[in-house]
Amino acid sequence: MPQTAKKRPAAAKQVVCTHCARVTEVGRRAMSVVCPNCSKRLILEDYKITGYYGVREFATCGDIVVERIGTVAALIKVGNLTVKGTVQGNAFARGCVSIRKTGTYRGDIQAPVLRVESGAKLRGFVRIGKPPADDA
């Protein structure tokens, strides 16, 4: 009797599209996919910023860490955002925005959770808590 190889379940994870906010299932090792709902490209990687990075929009379903020597000037759409350096721009996070003691944030923040360490600087309009139902 031939031996049947044990089929492992496909390693998949669910991500929220940064454009249409719908949940999509993607491969665990995928680095970017096209959202089946809005047909836009989704970045799934984590980023660590150690220099100046200025763009119109910086979106990823993963996490962004702005290191102490890093500076980001962009509209940020992210899972979790950690700021140890400087960020200027609005941020929409699905998870936690954490501003460490060396961090400086200038811009608006919308996130379920905000952590501001002692010594951090923050200036902007913040909306913390459960996102409104009609907000994408």
């Binding site: 002692s118 600087k121 309009f125």
Partner: protein, 154 residues
């Protein structure tokens, strides 16, 4: 940190409704409802279930309850998991616990002077008005300016 009622010289009880201006030196624990202004050099605790409507200026503010108004803490402000704040915050240090709800403008830093340059530009309340129009994500496409993804996910 003063948590129990005995650590406060003044306590506004859960069944109290205070309207007007309140000034104190040491500490006040608010358990009931307050409408008006508070000016203090001490500590103010807005307990869970308490409701404060108005502007507050104090040295140390801890919010467990609900606040509608502007808060100005000279030293430190704490928002616990049960806190609901709708208004502008100005403080030197801010702690927001997971579960807290905060809607308002924030100025956190030394004397509220956020940012290294200390500029006084007031950000707009309207996200959509100040945000660039949503575009296709261009982060990885920019040459010479691309952050390297963390290799941990490989």
């Amino acid at each position: 940190m003063a948590d129990s009622n005995s650590d406060f010289s003044t306590i506004l009880g859960a069944d109290a409704l205070f309207k007007g201006e309140l000034k104190f030196e040491k500490g006040v624990r608010l358990l009931g409802k307050f409408e008006g202004q508070i000016n203090s050099a001490g500590q103010l605790v807005i307990a869970d279930g308490a409701m404060l409507t108005g502007d507050v200026k104090a040295n140390h503010i801890r919010v467990d309850g609900e606040v509608k108004g502007n808060l100005d803490a000279t030293q430190k402000m704490e928002l616990t998991a049960s806190a609901k704040v709708e208004g502008d915050l100005q403080t030197a240090r801010l702690e927001v616990a997971e579960g807290a709800v905060l809607i308002g403008r924030c100025m956190v830093g030394v004397n509220g002077q956020g940012g290294p340059s200390g500029t006084q530009r007031a950000p707009s309340r309207d996200h959509k008005a100040t945000s660039p129009p949503p575009t296709q994500t261009d982060a990885p496409k920019v040459k010479g300016n691309v952050p390297e993804p963390v290799g941990a996910k490989k």
